[in-house]
Amino acid sequence: MPIDAKVVHDVAALSRLQVDPSEEARLVKELASILSYVEQLQALDVSGIEPTSQVGSGSKPPLREDRVKPSDVRDEALAQAPDRDGDYFRVPRVV
């Protein structure tokens, strides 16, 4: 996948990152270089191999019994939030 200024912009927008125009050229170059390095993997023949989504697949995942474990961390969590409104977290208006 060719990396150009548009890709950098799109990825930055999706990640909510502000990219300074002066950094753009450098980021295009660096991203392209990183991806080309990773692209070496394309040379491997992986047909017929189950994708390794997670290391440890095939072992039984630990399952929880459905039981409530009370955790009242409200005050602590709200105290650490940038802003609160009574019992709620408060954020800039989104709609």
Binding site: S53, D66, K69, S71, V73, V91
Partner: protein, 498 residues
Amino acid sequence: MSATGPATESTAGAGARQDRYETVVGLEVHAQLRTESKIFCGCSTKFGARPNTQVCPVCLGLPGVLPVLNERAVRFAVMTGLAVGAKVAERSVFARKNYFYPDLPKGYQISQYDRPLCTGGGIDIRSGGGWKRIGLVRIHLEEDAGKSLHPEGREGVTTTRVDLNRSGVPLIEIVSEPDIRSGTEAYDYLIRLKQILMYLDVCDGNMEEGSLRCDANVSVRLKGQAAFGTKAEIKNMNSFRNVERAIAFETDRQIRIVESGGRVAQETLLWNADKGIAETMRSKEEAHDYRYFPEPDLLTLDLDPAWVEAVRSELPELPHQIRDRLTRDFGIPEYDAEVLTETRSLATYYEEVARRSGNPKLASNWIMTEVNGIRNKEGQSIEEFPIRPDRLGDLIKMIATERISGKIGKQVFEMMLTRPEGPDELVKAHGLLPIDDEGSLRALAREVIAANPGPAAEVRAGKERTFAFLVGQAMKQSRGRAHPEKIQEALRKELGAG
């Protein structure tokens, strides 16, 4: 041409043009699973708690925590899949769906993407006079987001409040094939899906509390055309009726656009129930790129086929199975069976009444008209209905064996609504036993004739129509207890004798 203006009133000829099109609908339903605790942590799922009291580091998305899957959530999702004939994957994979929104503290939702838990299956709905199968694409497990409280319409308010109690509540998303062809079909599909979920007891079906949510993908095309039109997604429909209305509205809107040479835009619409229109939410031009990737914090979900079979063997009887059984064992019409299987408890209630009364069809009639009539008026579930199946069964048996008439039966039924006694006691205590012996009937006839000399004279003079009046008077006088045929005989005899 704007693709989004609200539709104007239908004009003459619009119907004929509309007939050339068909609407194509696929539904995505989110159902909250009835677990005690959240899908990846032990926080309670209880609705209506004080904001942000049912949260912990896992569902707050704090660093350094790991999700651990709730066994019952998996079981409920598998039960749903099996109930609709889906294939349950031996291996499914959780994935991160990345997007930014304040009610999603981690910045991603744990969902399933390319390897969902269930694929295929279907739900049979009514269409025309018969049945039609709506195929299912998939059912997958995911976590819910928190709740944003927007300052809707409030000028000058610059903040949104967030409650994360719902963050991490287990959901299944049930995605249908685009097999639905009208708002009416969508409505029936939703009713039947909800019914299945409630029979399985995996979801409480409460739309007001958000336990069931539905989005609709709607497009139109000329009949006979194979390719789909451009679809719009409608969200924010908070009742099944609103889904039906929104689809009808959107179908109409899209046909108008196409008919006037325009193009339907791929976009997300919000249904405004008050105005009865769907409004643009955001354009899908720059479609969301969720950058899904496998969730590294969870292993693949590998299910032992023997475990899945065990879940299958424990499935409760489903609506269509009970429907078939009732029509087969009790010989009642399919329509009756469908009404009576609305809920599992109504079906159980009916079965008890049918057995006890010995007359399944009469039992069905009474429940569909009298019992459901009261329940609809009072907003009662069958569990809350004051007459339990034993007493109703006894009452219907008295009617079926002609110990009392249907009319008296209704009087007794009314009494039973507020009194604990059985029908037999009430009939005796209130002198409601039928009058069918010759002596009493003749006495009653004499009384009626004496009280109505004019009409009696008319009948004797050959005015046959007035006879019905006298019969009516006798029934009234006896409060409906007189045997309807025998009182006629008695009246004839007394009139002749007089």
